[in-house]
Every structure is written in C-alpha cells, then in structure tokens.
Symmetry: C2
Subunit: 368 residues, 2 copies
C-alpha cells in the first residue's frame, strides 16, 4: 500500500484533513477488471452506487459497460436519475409510504425503474402508488439465500411475481444478496453456492407461475468471483470500485487494488507510544472491532485502536514509524461505504499524487 | 419512552423514513435544565455543537444563556460564525496546515475565537498563520486528565501558555475532557475528580508562568453534574441537548429526557421472530456492540441486534409486539452524535406530534 503514501506525499500541501482521497487510476482498473470478469462470464454489471454515491463515478462505470446502476433507496435513485441515469434498480424492499409513492411514480416517468419487493402488502402499495402508470414499474422479487435479512423464500417468488402482475406491475425477475459471504474468507464460496441454489429455485418458481425471469441478479463484491452459474444474468457489486481492508481480509481484493483512503493529520503526541489523528467516527464510522482495529496506516503495521468522534487513537508499533505532530497519514478504512457519506466531496488524484480534482458525493444525504 | 411512540403516531403520515425526529419541548427542557444547573454552580455553559450541528438549536442554547459555543473543527466554527455566532471555542488541538491557517485568521476577524493547543509546534504554526493578527486569537491549553487522548501534562500548561504569549497569541486558560467518565456509571464521579485535579494543577502552572486562567473549561454530558469545583469556570456538554441510550445507561439522563429518535419503517418480515427496519449504519452509525445492540425501540424491549447499511435487524422479544410490514417505529440511538450527520435535516415536532418543522443539519459536511 505504499503507493497510497506516495500519492499523499505529493498531494499533502494542497489538501485539508480529514479528507477522502481517491486514486482514479486504481479505481478505473477496478472498474475495468470487474467489467472484464463479467464479459468473460456473460454477465451484466449493475454496480451498487451506495458505495460511492457519486455521479461522476457512476458515469465511469456505465462508460466501462455497466448496463445501469443499483441504488439502495429512492433518494439515491432520484439523484442519479436527475443526472441522466436512465436504468435504475432500487434493490431494496421499498415500502412506499409518505411521499415515496409519488416519488417512485415520478422517477418511473423518466427512467427505466426497477424496485425490489418481498411481500404482497408492499406490492399492493406500490401498485396503488403507481395508479394508471403501473406498467411503468418493473418489480424484481427479492429472495433470501441465507443472509436471513430481507427476501422471501425462493419457492414463493412465483406467487409474489403473480401478485405484481395481477396489479398491473411488471415482474421481471428475482434478486438476492449473499451477505453471509462476508463472514470470512471461507464463507464466500459457500454463500455463492447458496445464492445459486436460491436463484435457481426462484427462477423455477417464476416459471411455474408462467413468468419468465429476464433478470436474475446477484451480489456482491466479496462473493462475485463465484457468481458465475448459468442462472445468473447480472451482478450488483458496490465496494469493488474502491475496495477496503475487509475485502482484503476476505481475499476479495489485493492491497494494491484499494483506491480510497482517508488522509488524517497527527494532532497530538502526548501519550507515550501513541499519536492522535484528526480522523474519528465522523470520518470513518465505527467500522471495526477492538480485535481488528478501526483502520490501518498504509505501508505500516499501525492500526487505529479506538475512535472518538474527531480523534483516532493510533498506538505506534515497535520500529521506526514515529510520526510527529503535523504528519499527514493515509488511513485505509475497514469498510469503505460508511466513510464516503461523511464527506461533501472526494479529493481525486492518481497514484502519482500530481493531479487534483474534487468530485461531490452527490447522493450523500439522500437516505429515504 | 412512550411519548416518543405517541409523537410518532401523530406524525407518521407526514414523514418519510428513515428520519431523525426531534421533540422540541423535551429538547428545550434539556437546555433549560443544564442552564439552571450551571447558574446554581456559577458556571458558564458553552455547549458543544458537534452533537446537533444545527444553527437553530445553537440559537436556542444561546438564548437560554449559553456564553458561546464549542466546535470540534474549523468547518463547524465557520458555519456557526456565518450564522452570526460571535464567541466560538474550537476545543481541539488544531494543526493549521493547508487552508486551515488562513481560515482561522479569517474567522478571528469577525468572531471572538478561541482554539485549543497542546504542543509548541502547533502554537507556532497558529502564530505563523495569524501573522499580524496574532493578538486576535485566544489559545486555551488542552491538558489530559485521564482520557489519554490529546492534552498536555497539566504541569506543562504554563510553559505552553508562555509559548503562545511569546508569539503574540493570547493564552486565556485551560481545558480538558474527562472521556474516561463514559466507561460506566461508576466512572463518572472519579473522572470528574481527575478533571478537577488536572485543572487545578494546570491553573497553578499558568499562574506560575505569570498568566491568569480566565477560562477553566470542563466537559461533558456524562460527568457534568460532578463538575462543580470552584476552579471550573465553564462546562462544554454536547449530548445533553438530545440525550441517548448511552447517557441513560450511565445515569446521566432519564429516558424521559431523550429528545431525539430515528423513525424507521418495517420493510420485511420473512424471518421468523425478526423484522427488518429501513434503519442501518447509514442512519445510526455502528454505535453499540453485540451485547447492548445498536438502538432500541422506544416503549418496547426490542433492540436492534445487527446493522447493515440500509437494514436494521430487529429480533422480536416474547410478547405482543409484532409490528407488521409498513409499521413505523421510534428507534432510540445508543449515541446520538454520529446519527445526526447522516441526515440533511431534522423533523422537529413536540411530544404531541402535531407540529412539524424542518431544520437543516447545517454543519453536517464540514469536517475539516
């Protein structure tokens, strides 16, 4: 990870900390690699924008060949639709209360819109919200494959798709999320196999109901390399664009593929063997644990051991790494997604640290 | 905490979830109670705005008698200064690199500005940044009282204050943060005693250097009720304005004094004995642990057991509480500060749930 420190050293006079730094060349390699993997296996890529929430990055993903984008809520979809994205899947079991019903109807006027659903009540509420425009809304039935989160039983997918069709909505397929594949390096392959099994059952269930699954959509960065069965038509990875320590630990990326770090400054060094960085939970989130720490300093063995809101506690390992007050360090997060939403903008450079652009985190505040 | 559910029931048709809901009457009681406590003990209140980051709430604190505000970084100070706040203490050991030096100098032109410092290098950098305007910047020396975070040894405060004076800056006193008072209910009083001891030593150190400590500034919501020694002149609580489960557990507030919750909707109920809410880490932060959970449903025994980014896992305790899909529930966070920064605006109501205003989280993106 020394290229992170090299880029930062070249950049450091021109930025304030804390700040999220993106190495655009590494990011582009990540995008291209995922696209090449998908092409090799005949899969569409529909990247999840929850990770970056940035229009410019979404455009690069589409330019590289993504068929559209995945969003996590209506607000994210609205931001990207307003920026011209016209093929959006909200991969979430939306409950269209409040203003969400009218907002979904409006979105469907200008974009090809797909939403997730895992229960009949939500399907009916979506149909009510769409009114005469029901045929504009495509529904993808969510099934569970072992994450025990949202998603119907795979064998119930057909009945749900029928319920959608009955109300004039357009059932187009099924999706699932193999979240249990993040449990450890050995969990990835098994979770992908569970995903296959659930999707095969769900497709068969749709077929039994007389409905063709045009879309059979799978997650996720940790499991995607195993998501190559013939039943799957698209993948929805998000984190691959930046990568992070969690994915490195899982074996889903290498350290050289990490494209985002947070620049932090040493602000205090009074405690022997420890320095304090200006990077706390309001920059990194509290992602981690006492065991693995809360973020690592690239190119060193140092790991943040504790976070307050604006303070990161960095015990110094034995050796020569003795950063003084004012030193700016690259902090690699455990989990990149909750980092991005803390900032207004990315500092975008490359591995040389010479270029500098600022890209807004466009959808950061749009949570509902 | 049933008044949270009552307010939400009255409000629910008019809001989208997830959303942070503030009960303005409870909040005002919290503000007034803290002010009355301070008046009784002859203390100034300088509330920390990191908790709310909201100009309107800051104004209410000042109207109730606060002498000024505390900020955690230059960006927060800028937002409040632009809104007319003219007495701001950045209680942080600022390192004025990048644009921070010029920004601090500019801030000091229009507001009475105090900044923290715990080392000579930072003091010199601040003086360099201020140039001919050094006498506009007041410096408060940070000392450690046991949190082992930032802050010089209390007996070194005088030397640091002298270093500031030598460079033309204006040393006005000392501050500390008794963060170790959050370790548990029994830790609060001891941490406050450590705080007293450190501040007494620091004041003596300044006095020995021929400098009067006009300001002797203490934290924090969990310890403030014990921060009544004669050496302390001001308190900087932040969380008291909203309160949260952590402060309830510490005995620093009652459940009836909790003024903020996050409204979340049940979006899926496929897993037996569990429902999924649309409230995950991007609404609550990952504040909590497997032991205490990640947020509680007011008025019930139900606690979020796990969070993904947009999903909260809610196991249902034995009993009648069986919320169906579409039910909107009040989630009380463990730690309120990292919640607020995830949202663009507060939904502000009162305990009756009839009023509805929207207040921006003005300083949410200003981290550096």
């Amino acid at each position: 990870m020394n290229r992170l420190q090299r880029a930062l050293d070249a950049l450091v006079e021109r930025i304030d900390t804390p700040a999220p730094i993106v190495l655009a060349d590494v990011m582009q390699e990540n995008i291209d690699r995922m696209q090449a993997f998908a092409a090799q296996h005949g899969l569409d890529v529909r990247p999840h924008v929850k990770t970056h929430k940035c229009v410019e990055i979404g455009r690069r993903q589409v330019k590289a060949g993504a068929v559209g984008i995945t969003a996590g809520n209506v607000g994210e979809a609205e931001v990207f639709a307003a920026a011209g994205f016209d093929d959006i899947f909200i991969a979430y079991p939306i409950w269209p209360a409040g203003t969400k019903g009218p907002r979904i109807r409006k979105l469907a006027e200008t974009t090809r819109l797909r939403v997730g659903a895992d229960n009949v009540a939500a399907i009916n509420a979506l149909a009510d919200a769409m009114g005469d425009d029901a045929e504009r809304l495509e529904v993808v039935i969510e099934v569970d494959c072992g994450a025990r989160r949202s998603g119907a039983a795979p064998e119930d997918a057909g009945a749900l798709a029928l319920a959608a069709r009955k109300r004039g909505l357009v059932p187009v397929g099924v999706f699932t999320y193999p979240g249990h594949g993040s449990a450890g390096p050995d969990a990835r392959k098994g979770a992908a196999e569970d995903q296959d099994a659930a999707l095969i059952t769900a497709v068969r269930s749709l077929s039994g109901a007389g409905i063709t699954a045009e879309v059979v959509s799978a997650g996720s960065t940790p499991t995607v390399e195993f998501a190559t069965s013939s039943v799957i038509t698209e993948i929805r990875p998000g984190e691959y664009v930046f990568n992070d320590l969690n994915n490195t630990r899982l074996g889903a990326c290498t350290e050289d593929q990490i494209a985002l770090f947070v620049a932090g400054t040493v602000v205090s060094d009074w405690v022997s063997g420890q320095v304090i960085l200006d990077v706390g939970t309001k920059a990194l989130g509290r992602e981690g644990s006492p065991e693995i720490g809360y973020g690592a300093i690239a190119g060193t063995a140092a790991v943040l051991s504790k976070l307050n809101e604006y303070h990161g506690f960095l015990p110094l390992p034995d050796g020569d790494f003795r950063p003084g007050v004012g030193t700016v360090l690259p902090v690699v997060p455990n989990h990149v997604c909750p980092v991005v939403v803390n900032f207004e903008e990315y500092i975008v450079t490359d591995s040389t640290g010479t270029t500098l652009e600022r890209w807004p985190v466009d959808a950061r505040g749009f949570l509902n």
